[in-house]
């Protein structure tokens, strides 16, 4: 556990030092909120889903923030590989599982923190957050998204040689995961052919879970959400640990 903590601690120090990264990664969800939320608020009617589109959108943006930060944190292992630091960790008398766990918790922590920042900013501009239990439920879902997608990033990074594939992964894997998740629109309003795709996306259950916690309304039973995202977290952690174990430098 001390090794996991050590690696986690390094991640925290690096995160807190990179102001530009903190600001940079809250910018995108914030702009989405501003342009889509404010822009479409008066146009979009959401029957039976809370009062306004912007309230519907906020949980989606929290999830987006957690998603992007966590995948990015996981993929950061490639930087450690390129800058040589990974060698220092790998040659120490510690197990790869400990290193991987530390990296995962580190990434998840920063991701949840980023998500919380969006939430705090939303509350400051008037998002109604009155139910503490609901908040805890949302937090639990944020943690699960954070862990699963950091592990997902580590799994990808373990198979990548350098950063050249990074943009490809972001555009063709991470962005579709976000787009299909129902962070921007209610699933029920989708055409019939698209609904199964959305239901295959693990993030959908994360978004719905957070939405249930924050607004009290969701289109998927929160228990189902918890089970799916929990299972996904488990699978990703095992996959990440397995691929990281085989990493060559």
């Amino acid at each position: 556990m001390d090794i996991v903590y050590t690696i986690w601690l390094r991640n925290m120090k690096r995160y807190l030092r990179s102001k530009s990264r903190i600001v940079g990664s809250i910018a995108m969800p914030l702009f989405f909120l501003l342009f889509l939320g404010v822009g479409l608020n008066s146009v979009i009617q959401l029957p039976g889903l809370g009062e306004s589109y912007i309230v519907f959108l906020i949980p989606g943006m929290v999830a987006m923030s957690v998603l992007f930060t966590s995948v990015f944190s996981g993929i950061q292992i490639i930087w450690d590989k390129q800058f040589g630091f990974l060698k220092e960790t790998l040659v120490a008398p510690v197990s790869r599982l400990e290193i991987m766990s530390g990296q995962t918790f580190g990434g998840a922590t920063t991701a949840v923190f980023q998500g919380a920042l969006i939430l705090i900013l939303s509350v400051l501009v008037g998002f109604p957050l009155s139910n503490p239990v609901g908040f805890l439920i949302a937090l639990a879902f944020m943690i699960l998204i954070g862990i699963s997608f950091t592990a997902f990033g580590i799994a990808i990074a373990s198979r990548m040689e350098d950063m050249t594939g990074f943009q490809l992964i972001m555009n063709f894997v991470v962005f579709p995961i976000f787009g299909l998740s129902g962070a921007l629109f209610p699933i029920s309003s989708l055409p019939a052919w698209m609904i199964p795709l959305t239901l295959l996306d693990p993030l959908t259950y994360g978004v719905e879970g957070i939405r249930y916690g924050l607004t009290g309304v969701s289109q998927i039973n929160p228990l189902v959400c918890g089970a799916v995202i929990g299972g996904f977290t488990l699978v990703m952690t095992i996959l990440g640990a397995f691929l990281f174990r085989k990493i060559r430098i």
Partner: protein, 328 residues
């Protein structure tokens, strides 16, 4: 003398390419041992196997009596390593890099703090200890890496090309550190280098490695003595004639290398006039003539028939060919 490292028929292949070819030797505890050879000779691969980063294809080795394949963690705990490429976290301070390492090796907090201060003082980085590594020069980074490698009190320290890419002044400085370290801490140091001067100045014993094979192993002095005295290099448009004329009993060896003829003999200063007279009487033209004490470069040349630089060029060409083969 106790043996710190025992290597027996150690071999490593990469897809048919032999990087390290059945090498065997012992390194004694407390010595500075150099692996000298051109780039691509197999030095780093050997180090990677000894530090358990890479599995041998065949053969075996022990470090501090611990088998490198059977007990990886045991080996890792007892060694320190400074890699060829930098392996610091540039976003952290010098102290934090040390602290991270100390925690990874599970050094208790009190001891950790004390040793970090002590080592940072040793490598003269104490006044910069809370600065981010990004702001450090190449020499400072190297010193920090060496200090870090010593933090968990290893009995064996591996240094892979410790002065690569550093300016001559910093290099000199670093050599002093390494020599002091070996003396004061009594640890065994294994360093790889392709700088002849570095091997000569620092190492108690040197293994010359080329194409994955150990071609010579001895103290620098013995290796140089093996040349057979001083070295006289004669340049002439007719090298064959020099070799013919200089077939004298007081000359140990005459060899042609490119346009030069390399002559080995004892007390070259006394014989130089005789050599010139001999060549003149036989009407062999001389473009230039030079005497020097034998260096490890001469040793390498005499064993491989090539200078280390020529060998490196060859290795690079091979590597390119190999990469092309793999790609297609």
């Amino acid at each position: 003398m106790t043996v710190a490292i025992h290597i027996e028929n150690l071999t490593r292949r990469f897809n048919g390419l032999i990087a390290v070819d059945t090498i065997s030797f012992d390194i004694e505890a407390g010595e500075i041992f150099g692996l000298l050879g051109p780039n691509g000779a197999g030095k780093t691969t050997t180090l990677s196997m000894l530090s358990t980063m890479l599995k041998p294809t065949s053969g075996s080795a022990t470090v501090n009596g611990i088998d490198i394949e059977r007990d990886e963690d045991g080996v890792r705990k007892s060694i320190g390593i400074v890699f060829q490429d930098q392996s610091l976290d540039e976003e952290l301070t010098a102290w934090e890099n040390m602290d991270f390492h100390g925690r990874l090796y599970r050094i208790p907090a009190d001891t950790r703090k004390q040793r970090i201060s002590e080592l940072l003082r040793l490598v003269e980085l104490e006044d910069r200890q809370h600065d981010i590594v990004k702001t450090f020069s190449g020499g400072m980074r190297r010193r920090l890496e060496i200090a870090r490698g010593l933090l968990h009190h290893p009995t064996v320290l591996f240094l892979d090309e410790p002065t690569l890419g550093l300016d001559p002044q910093t290099r000199n400085h670093l050599w002093q550190y390494i020599a002091t370290l070996a003396k004061e801490k009594g640890i065994t140091i294994i360093l790889t280098t392709h700088y002849m001067e570095e091997a000569d100045r620092l190492c108690n014993r040197i293994a010359i490695i080329d194409h994955g094979k150990i071609i010579a192993l001895d103290t620098p002095q013995n290796l140089k003595d093996g040349i057979g005295g001083d070295v006289v290099t004669i340049r002439s448009p007719d090298p064959a004639a020099i070799i013919r004329v200089l077939a004298e009993p007081w000359i140990t060896r005459v060899e042609q290398h490119n346009d030069d003829v390399i002559v080995s003999l004892q007390n070259a200063e006394q014989h130089i006039s005789t050599i010139v007279t001999l060549l003149n009487t036989n009407q062999v033209p001389i473009e230039s003539i030079a005497i020097h004490k034998p260096t490890l470069e001469d040793v390498f040349l005499s064993f491989t028939g090539k200078t280390i630089r020529e060998e490196e060029a060859d290795n690079k060409a091979n590597m390119r060919m190999y990469q092309k083969m793999v790609r297609h």
